[in-house]
Symmetry: C2
Subunit: 195 residues, 2 copies
């Protein structure tokens, strides 16, 4: 799942996941400082730069990116453990990271959450009141860049109304679970069972 | 949508469509005789063999197939009219027809509705009490043949519980409407609008 800061990714996720059964939410690693209220291992895995570099050198990240001088990345091990257990895995990552994941895991489903417009995103970011002007401008610039790449994604959800966006998100997860290409040989045999 | 007779295609469709906005259900043409209670133009377009052959000769059918001596087919004109009006179109057709549609319209989404097993389908067909033994055996043979081709389809819904199957059907339609590849240039411009 990719989308601008302020577009509602977290809100959609929290509202949708309880109805979706086994979904593992991937917690990113980052070198940025922990903010007031953030919990290590819940919001992020907070690492120092040398620990992050060690993950990179071991090729232990599914994707990584630098943003405003800090590193962000997705540790591969918990993702693979969840997939092996038969669970779906949800990554919340930006455009460059999504491209890296698609490269490494072509079967990944890419979902873009867009604001109704960049103008509306700007109103939401200002309404939040957590970012200074320079940061807002940086976020808007990144949002425009990501929106221009939206056709690289499989699905686009425009978060105009939260209810509709949550319904849409659940539909995408449910539909992807119904992909006939995922049907195992055993399940096919069960369908053909005549007694 | 493809699936064996007795698998619940019609029931799922009737339950799901009211929640799905503009969907045009395609009414097939057939040369078979109208049964008690069937209405021409609602259940089928009932045609004689020469009228059906005329459609075939004008290449006016999206797909057609012969079954137990009768012809069935999908007139292309109403489908194209609905698509031009921006509506989705639902075809309820068998395997050979689905293959022809995919050939002619590679953008078509192919959905297979399966019984939990052929054994369960047999119980349902016998429970319906509308078919004689020979017809039941013919339907089961066709069901097995279609099930072996299920991986040619995009989506598989196993109709074990009707509620779950209806939820799944709606999820597939909703998710397909969110395909980023369908985003028009105008819609993209609206997303990028900064004022």
């Amino acid at each position: 799942m990719t989308g601008a800061s302020g577009v509602g990714k977290g809100t959609i996720r929290h509202a949708a996941i309880p109805d979706l059964g086994e979904i593992h939410y991937s917690i990113s690693a980052t070198t940025r400082l922990r903010r007031e209220g953030e919990v290590d291992g819940v919001d992020y895995h907070f690492l120092d730069r040398s620990a992050f570099r060690a993950l990179l050198e071991r090729d232990a990240l599914l994707e990584h990116a630098e943003y405003v001088g800090d590193y962000y990345g997705t540790p591969a091990a918990p993702v693979d453990a969840a997939l092996s257990a038969g669970h779906d895995v949800l990554l919340e990552i930006e455009l460059e990271g999504a491209r890296q994941v698609r490269e490494k895991r072509p079967e990944a489903v890419m979902l873009f959450i867009a604001p109704p417009s960049v103008a509306e995103l700007e109103r939401r970011l200002r309404g939040r009141g957590t970012d200074g002007e320079a940061k807002i401008q940086r976020r808007l610039e990144r949002a425009r860049k990501e929106l221009r790449a939206v056709r690289e994604f499989d699905y686009l959800i425009v978060n105009d109304s939260l209810d509709a966006a949550v319904t849409a998100f659940k539909a995408v997860v449910r539909a992807e679970r119904l992909r006939a290409s995922r049907l195992g040989d055993e399940a096919e045999a069960a369908l053909l069972r005549a007694t």
